[in-house]
């Protein structure tokens, strides 16, 4: 099986969240971008499948500026991925989901083969979860998200997996090719060994530009980034009876807080 994993460089978990001076976007100054969260699980899942389906290869792709993509790609190579491609996200902003998807799709279609494409369910920063489905559509491949427990049945040439939904868990099967948004790998992510880390720092990374489709895609632009204002203390509801308190609270939640129970 030829497996492709798409990994997004995201700010390290402990990063301080700050808006830029215009208040229009997250300020990346001094922030370290790493492989993390659901994307880290996707790399782990790809490597587990590689063990399960002997002879498989894992290719990892990341889109963005080299200072960010290279860290993520080297970390993935150190974990055991076989090869890597860095797609230079030429169209600002770099967090435009559909533009990113088109850039990834073009890079993936230029690979010799892609049977299974793994995405993390959503990125730790923007949490959009759009890129997997969009990339799959651009490639003409089916897409299933919220996947858990992904296995390959080589005898039947089918993937078998679960899908975690609001009501519970669905069971699925699919032939190849398939694109998957992974919620959870069947093991905790492994740690790269020191020799593998040293080797990965010298490994080659293929490079390509994001391409025309990404550049001409209609855009999603960050206009404002804000931390919530510090809380001032509760608005205490005045009431003469429990019924009045309940009615007032529900009304405030609907009309003022705009959280609709």
């Amino acid at each position: 099986m030829e497996i492709v994993v798409c990994a997004k460089p995201v700010p390290e978990a402990e990063s301080r969240l700050r808006a830029n001076s215009a208040g229009s976007a997250f300020d990346p100054e001094g922030v370290k971008f790493v492989l993390a969260g659901y994307d880290e699980s996707a790399v782990e899942q790809a490597l587990l499948l590689k063990q399960e389906a002997v002879g498989s290869k894992v290719h990892v792709v990341a889109l963005g500026p080299p200072s960010r993509t290279d860290e993520v790609l080297r970390a993935s190579l150190a974990l055991g991925c076989d090869s890597a491609t860095a797609v230079e996200g030429g169209v600002p902003p770099l967090d435009d989901p559909v533009g990113t998807a088109r850039g990834l799709a073009e890079a993936i279609s230029s690979l010799s083969a892609h049977d299974l494409i793994l995405f993390g369910k959503q990125a730790g920063d923007d949490e959009e979860g759009l890129v997997g489905g969009a990339t799959a559509e651009a490639l003409g491949i089916p897409f299933v998200g919220f996947v858990v427990d992904l296995h390959y049945d080589a005898g039947a040439s089918r993937l078998r997996f679960g899908r975690s939904v609001e009501k519970g868990q669905e069971t699925w099967e699919s032939p190849l090719p398939l694109a998957v948004g992974l919620q959870q790998a069947w093991n905790d992510p492994r740690t790269a060994t020191l020799p593998a880390i040293l080797r990965s720092r010298k490994a080659p990374i293929a490079r390509r530009a994001a391409g025309a489709a990404a550049a001409s895609s209609p855009r999603s632009l960050s206009a404002r980034f804000a931390l919530p204002p510090p809380r001032q203390g509760a608005k205490m509801i005045e009431f003469k009876s429990p019924q009045e308190a309940a009615e007032k609270l529900v009304r405030l939640l609907r009309e003022e807080a705009k959280v609709f129970p």
Binding site: E127, P142, F143, L221
Partner: protein, 328 residues
């Protein structure tokens, strides 16, 4: 503003998911007083879902009635839904931001030639396109995005908008434009569904609403009050460390520094005093409500709304009021 907005319906049994009705409310606002909201349903049993649209005030519904969509991935509906939007002249497609909607949104954006945003908590039309607001970084910050170009796909965060309730209108359903969907896209098949082992509530990690009980509940059998309030809201149930340490609830339900961190739309803390260890687990919730006998309890410092009263008097009445308002 006068626009046509398409809403993609999510099946829930033979009805529409509540998230779809929330999407209808948003679509109505985007369409403007002179605009139109059109429904779209894929798969068999479209008639009852179309009826549900009409009951919520959406009379025109396009049906892509092919049974091959029933067990196929939600993303499979991307091309038919995009074709339906083109056919009715819709510039915007709105869906509920559930697992169904989120899976479909990305594919739909590419099929429709649009840009997209998932899980928005606010959306409005602007000259450049649309402006949306979303929670990011696990709820620790919010962003506003401008979605440019003439077309957009937006999924709305569950429980962030009111469900459209009508008034009902006559249904005028029609077949959606026939759109060829390659066999490869319908090849993945759902073979089974199993309901969550732990009751019917959502998991703490993903829930849009969480109701937590603390030491003020006094005894394990009283937790029933918390469970009923949660059920009335479709919420997940959490607990403070005092409760899990006492063995009233399993450790997996503990919200706090050494338990789980949650950032739902709405967090209701019942009988919880607000020790720092608990606050760390829930303080990034969008809206916090606290019910506690003690008006000086620290929880009221971080809550948005507070009711200083006996929870045994307030909670059952609140549960009943919520049920009444939701029509259950």
């Amino acid at each position: 503003m006068s626009e046509t907005v398409l809403v993609v319906g999510e099946p829930d049994g033979s009805a529409l998911a509540e998230a779809t009705l929330e999407a209808v409310g948003v679509a109505r606002k985007l369409a403007g007083p002179d605009g139109a909201v059109v429904g779209f349903v894929g798969g068999s049993d479209g008639a009852s879902r179309a009826a549900a649209f009409a009951g919520a005030g959406v009379g025109r519904v396009l049906l892509a009635g092919d049974p091959k969509f029933d067990r196929a991935p939600p993303a499979t509906l991307a091309r038919p839904a995009a074709a339906a939007a083109e056919a009715v002249g819709a510039a915007a497609i709105v869906l509920g931001g559930t697992t169904f909607g989120r899976d479909l949104a990305g594919s739909l954006a590419v099929a429709f030639g649009a840009t997209a945003a998932n899980g928005v908590i606010d959306v409005e039309r602007i000259p450049e396109g649309w402006r949306v607001r979303r929670a990011v970084f696990g709820g620790r910050a919010t962003e506003e995005r401008h979605l440019e170009g003439g077309k957009v796909v937006v999924s709305v965060r569950p429980h962030a908008f009111p469900a459209a309730t009508g008034p009902a209108v006559p249904l005028a359903s029609e077949p959606a434009p026939a759109k060829e969907v390659p066999g490869a896209l319908v090849a993945p098949a759902r073979t089974a569904v199993a309901a969550t082992a732990q009751g019917s509530g959502p998991s703490l990690a993903d829930a849009a609403i969480v109701v937590s009980g603390g030491r003020g509940v006094r005894a394990p059998e009283n937790f029933r009050l918390i469970d009923e309030l949660a059920a009335s809201l479709g919420a997940a149930v959490g607990a403070s460390r005092a409760v899990t340490d006492a063995g009233w609830k399993p450790a997996s339900m503990q919200v706090g520094q050494t338990g789980r961190t949650v950032s739902p739309q709405l967090y209701i803390a019942v009988g919880i005093s607000g020790a720092i260890q608990h606050l760390i687990g829930m303080v990034s919730s969008r809206v916090i409500v606290a019910v506690n006998n003690d008006p000086t309890a620290p929880i009221f410092r971080v809550a948005d709304y507070g009711i200083a009263a006996d929870l045994f008097e307030i909670v059952p009445v609140l549960t009943a009021e919520i049920r009444r308002v939701r029509g259950k």
